[in-house]
Every structure is written in C-alpha cells, then in structure tokens.
C-alpha cells in the first residue's frame, strides 16, 4: 500500500542497472492482471529504458559525473508507461501524459482510476466524453423519463466522504457530471453489508489498485461501524 511513498521519501538515486531491478520488482503489482491464461511478464532491461528515453517517453536521467542516475519520477513514469502500453495505448498519448504530469498526478494514475487515465491519456476519448457531458447537461435541462432504477439515498458523486480518505488512496473520482438516469447495481456482500456499484464503474485491473480499493473500503467500514466492532 505504502509502496510508492517509501520510494518517494528516501529519494533514491539509482544507476541504470539498479533502476531496472527496482522496476522489475514492482511491475507485477501495477500491471493489469492477466485474463485467463497466465501472461509471461516481459522484463524491463537497460536497453529498453534508454530506448524509451530517446523516444521522449521518459525524462532524461540526471548526470552525476560520467554516470547517469534515475530517481522517483523516472520510476513513476516507467511504471505508468509499461502499464499503458500493456493496455494498448499509443506512445503518442503516453508521451504527453508521462512527461507533463506532476509526480502526484502520476501516483494517482497508478493508484487507481481507469476513467481518470482514459481522459488524460487519450484525446479522442476525452473529446467524446466532453460531447457526452454536453448532451447530459442538455438532457438534464429537459425532463426525461428515468431509464433505470436510481437509488435516491446515494448521490452518485458521493463516492467517499473526504475525511475518510487517506492521502495515499485518492479514489478514481468519476469525472462525468452525475446523471440522474445512471444505473446502480446492488450487491449484498454479507448479511447487513451491501455494495452499490454505478454501471460505469470499472474495477481496477492491477493488484496495486485493487489493494488500494480494498483498503479504502476497510477504512470506511472501520470509521462507520466502530461501536458494533467494540461490542462484538
């Protein structure tokens, strides 16, 4: 869970070989889980890192004398790069994304948020989402029959009360304007515990994101149900 933050705090400076080793150790957690068959994970090697750098997909390494050094930001960029490539994004979209975003934004992208990533990484999708938002705003102005059951108790935007959000686990804030006709699915996890899932919610694909999400749910539960826990 605190995986990335540890690296951020120690401000590591790696040689190329060390950097490659760290990345390969971390990668499995950040890549989408394979569907069905097991996927043979392609390891990153020094040549690949240099290739990405000349392609402009990674920041240039720092120089220290004759040696080059890689740091935390390079780590974030490379993890995100590998992940987006695996998900089929073009290098054009990734270039802008991984060079222009701040460290905090790169962390957020790795930690969760398929929707968030899609919007920033992909100009065509971002454009279509804008159109969709425009149409939804128009629809909201005109009365339309609800297409599906809506749950009046939960406003769609209230994914998590702000106070309960640990700084490391910013959830994938849905960026679309809440639409009153969106569908919600109710799943009873245990007697007395239900999940409400909006139809456009995407379950994260990497172990790291999944862990973050589980942690977030656990945190919420422990805050909302402290009394019962003590009495049991």
């Amino acid at each position: 869970m605190q995986l990335l933050q540890q690296f951020a705090q120690i401000q590591s400076q790696w040689t190329l070989e060390e950097f490659v080793e760290v990345v390969n150790e971390l990668l499995p957690q950040f890549l989408p889980l394979p569907e069905g068959e097991t996927r043979i994970l392609e390891a990153v090697n020094p040549r690949l890192v240099r290739h990405y750098t000349t392609q402009g997909l990674l920041d240039k390494p720092q120089r220290s004398g004759r040696e080059v050094r890689y740091g935390y930001r390079h780590l974030l960029q490379l993890l995100l790069l590998r992940r987006l490539l695996m998900e089929g994004y073009g290098s054009g979209a990734i270039e802008r994304l991984s060079l222009s975003q701040s460290n905090a934004e790169l962390e957020a992208l790795l930690q969760g948020g398929v929707q968030l990533k899609a919007e920033t990484a992909n100009p065509a999708l971002a454009f279509l989402q804008q159109i969709q938002q425009r149409q939804q705003n128009l629809d909201a102005a005109a009365p339309s029959p609800p297409l599906a059951q809506t749950d009046p108790r939960i406003p769609p935007s209230a994914a998590a009360p702000a106070a309960a959000t640990p700084p490391s686990a910013a959830p994938a804030a849905p960026q679309t304007v809440p639409n009153k006709s969106q569908r919600w699915l109710r799943v009873e996890v245990l007697p007395g515990l239900e999940l409400h899932i909006r139809e456009d919610f995407v379950y994260p694909s990497s172990p790291y994101e999944q862990q973050n999400l589980q942690q977030l749910i656990a945190d919420q539960l422990s805050i909302l149900t402290p009394n019962r826990r003590r009495s049991s």
């Binding site: 089929g88 992909n122 065509a124 279509l128 159109i131 149409q135």
Partner: protein, 412 residues
C-alpha cells in the same frame, strides 16, 4: 508496407499552349496511390460497428445488416479489434471492443440483434467512438461505421452539431463512415458526417447490397495508405484558378480536402486555369499533395509543377484534346447538375429539377463516348424518370450519393 509515394499526373486538355495567346486551360490532376510492390502488410483495424435496430429496420434490412456485420467480422485478422453497438432509443454495446481472435461469440451476438424502438443516432455514434477510442492507436486504422435507415429522433438531432462532433473526432484520430439504407434516412446528414469524418458515405437502396458495400468499405480501409488528404493548388505569377469542378470542402489553408488514398483507387481532380499570354515555357502552376500515413510520423508532402511546351498558334489544332479530361469534366458537370436538381426538389420545383438533369444529359452526350459516360447518361435518365414518377425521395438520395461519389472519383 511499401512507403513509396503516390503518383501525380497532370493531364492538360491539350498538351501545348499557343504562343502569345491567353489560354483557358482545363486540366485533370490524377493522383494514383502506389500499388503495393511486395505483399501488403496493412495496419491493424480498430473498428466500431454501430447498427440501427430501430423498428423501421424490421425484416430484410436487419437481416442484411446482420449479414453485413458478420461479413465484416469474418474478414478481420486476429490483430484487428472490433466492437458492435446497436441502437434504437437505447444504446447497447453488445460486443465491447475486443481483438478479432475468437469470432464465434462476436458472430453469435450479432445474430441475435432484432429490430425495435426509435433512433438515437448521435448517442450511438458516441458510444461506437468510445469503443474505438479506448483502444486508440495512431498507427492503426481507427474507424466508426454507422449504419442507419432512419432519422435521428432521440438525443442530438441537429446535423451541424453532429457533423462538427464527427469532424472533431476525426481530427483526434477516429474517422467515421456512414451507410444509409432505404428511402427514409437523412442523406444530407449522413453525407455531412462522412465528409467531416474523413470516411465514406454510402446510399444503399436495397438491403441485398449491404454485404457488398461492407466489402467495399473494408477493402478500402485495408488498402488505405493515406488519410486527412489535401491538395493545394498554387497558380504562379498571373495564372488564375477559374474553377475546380470537384466541389470538395476546403481546409483552413484553402486546400481541397480529398478522400483517403486507397490502393487501386485513383482520385481525379479537374480544374480550369486562366493562363496569360506566354512566349516561353515556364512553370505556371504548382500542386501540393499532403496526407497522413499511418506508418510514418508527421505529414507527408509531395509537390509537382506544371509546365507545357509553347507552339505557334497555327499549330495548336495539331494537338488533340485529351478524352480523359473531357470525360472527367462532363461527369463533374453532371454532378453539379445533380446538386442543382436536389436544390430545386427541396424548393418543390420538380420541373426545374428535371430540366437541370436533362441539360446535364446533353453535356455528357457531347463528351467522347465511353463506358463511364454511358453509365452517367443512364443514371441521369433514371433520376429524371423517378422525378416524373413522383419517387422524389429516391431520386434525391441517388442524386446526393452519385454527386458525392463523382466528386471523390469513387464508384457508385
């Protein structure tokens, strides 16, 4: 994939200019995409099929639409991607974007589509775009293919807004092709979508044509070696462009927006230049062809210029008129006559519309006889006959489709 350039031939009506005389020079610019010299390795396709299943599609139309979609899926390679979105008043993606690896489940999903409801055309196009967009790759051929037989009556219905959206998406790497089936859709809107979407527009009179139209579209897509194609015409010194017979849209730099460069499909642009009196041979017009190649970074540009020998005026008649130029101009004038006929039909002036088509027949008859001019004569007669018989919608749709195709040198 070979990266050889398209070839540009400049074909003047007469191969020389008369010395010391101003000349009105008709000219065809023929752009021939390179034939593949080695085995064609095409870029992968990223397709979004968007199919109307509104109530009016009931019967043969939905049958053939299913067949056509299945046909498209069957042609794909495992490296291609495809999604299938169906729409009436509701929009449903029955096959989210997936590699065309295991085709059976995709085909089964398509087979189960039946007709119902009204037509949320714009929303469905967005959904199809999203499916393609989620897998957007600049080196792929990313396209939404929208098939409809009806009028958009749910969601956004303003053709200008829709065309602007389609244009915006094409600028971001996803083109749009539209197919109108039958006599009840809005041909102006579907054509505008295809024009602004850098794709193709097809009018499909009878549903039996659907599978072959899909084949044309798919083979075209597979043979696409250039998109966002433009042609700049740059007359030198005192030369002026009097007319460009292809009524194509222009881009922000005033250059003509051409259809995609597809292997085996040359594009012919006809224009008329006013050349002042010249006494010696000189470059008097330049042309700049530009396009995007999925396999290469940046814009590809090819330049050619026109220079003709000068002969004494007395020898001019010794040089024959070029039949290709005559034929092309006759066809494009017929396309203009069709546009005028459509305008008159919209005003309710059926007699005027007929007259315009009949004038065009005379003009085509005056051109040297060829297979193309013969077909064109027949088409003009059929359009006119439909008007006489009160089949206005049919005549209008065919006129729009034929004009659109002629301007872009595409077969109907």
């Amino acid at each position: 994939m070979t990266s050889s350039s398209p070839q540009i031939d400049l074909i003047p009506l007469r191969a020389v200019l008369a010395s010391g005389q101003p000349t009105t020079l008709d000219l065809v610019v023929k752009i021939t995409p390179p034939a593949p010299t080695v085995e064609v390795q095409r870029p992968p396709l990223n397709l979004g099929l968007v199919i109307d299943r509104s109530g009016s599609m009931t019967g043969a139309k939905i049958d053939y639409a299913r067949q056509a979609a299945c046909y498209a899926v069957e042609q794909l390679l495992p490296t291609d991607r495809v999604s299938v979105t169906i729409f009436d008043d509701r929009i449903e993606t029955i096959v989210p974007s997936t590699p065309a690896l295991q085709k059976t489940p995709i085909l089964q999903a398509i087979q189960q589509v039946s007709a119902r409801g009204s037509t949320a055309l714009h929303g469905a196009w967005i959904e199809g775009g999203m499916q393609v967009g989620q897998q957007l790759q600049p080196a792929w051929l990313n396209r939404v293919i929208l098939l409809s037989d009806g009028l958009a009556n749910v969601g956004e219905t303003n053709p200008d807004v829709i065309a602007a959206d389609v244009h915006g998406l094409s600028k971001r790497g996803i083109s749009t092709t539209t197919m109108g089936v039958g006599n009840d859709y809005n041909e102006d809107m579907l054509e505008a979508m295809a024009r602004s979407g850098d794709g193709n527009f097809y009018h499909i009179e009878s549903p039996q044509q659907l599978p072959s139209i899909f084949q044309t579209e798919l083979f075209g897509l597979m043979g696409t070696i250039g998109h966002q194609v433009s042609l700049g015409i740059e007359p030198q010194s005192d030369v002026a462009v009097v007319d460009v017979f292809n009524d194509l849209d222009r881009n922000q730099y005033g250059r003509l927006q051409l259809p995609n460069l597809i292997v085996g499909m040359p594009i012919l642009i006809a224009l008329r230049l006013k050349v002042p009196a010249l006494t010696e041979s000189t470059e008097f017009c330049r042309f700049r062809l530009a396009w995007n190649d999925p396999n290469q970074a940046g814009r590809q540009v090819l330049r050619v210029s026109l220079r003709l020998p000068i002969v004494p005026g007395t020898q001019l008649e010794e040089f024959p008129l070029n039949p290709i130029v005559q034929e092309q101009i006759a066809l494009l004038l017929a396309a203009r006559a069709k546009a005028e006929a459509v305008r008159q039909l919209d005003l309710g002036n059926f007699a005027e519309a007929s007259k315009s088509l009949q004038c065009a027949q005379q003009a085509v008859a005056a051109a040297p006889a060829s297979a193309l001019t013969q077909t064109e004569m027949q088409r003009l007669q059929d359009l006119d006959k439909d008007i006489t018989n009160g089949e206005i919608a049919r005549s209008r749709k065919n006129a729009v489709y034929q004009r659109y195709s002629s301007e872009r040198s595409r077969p109907v």
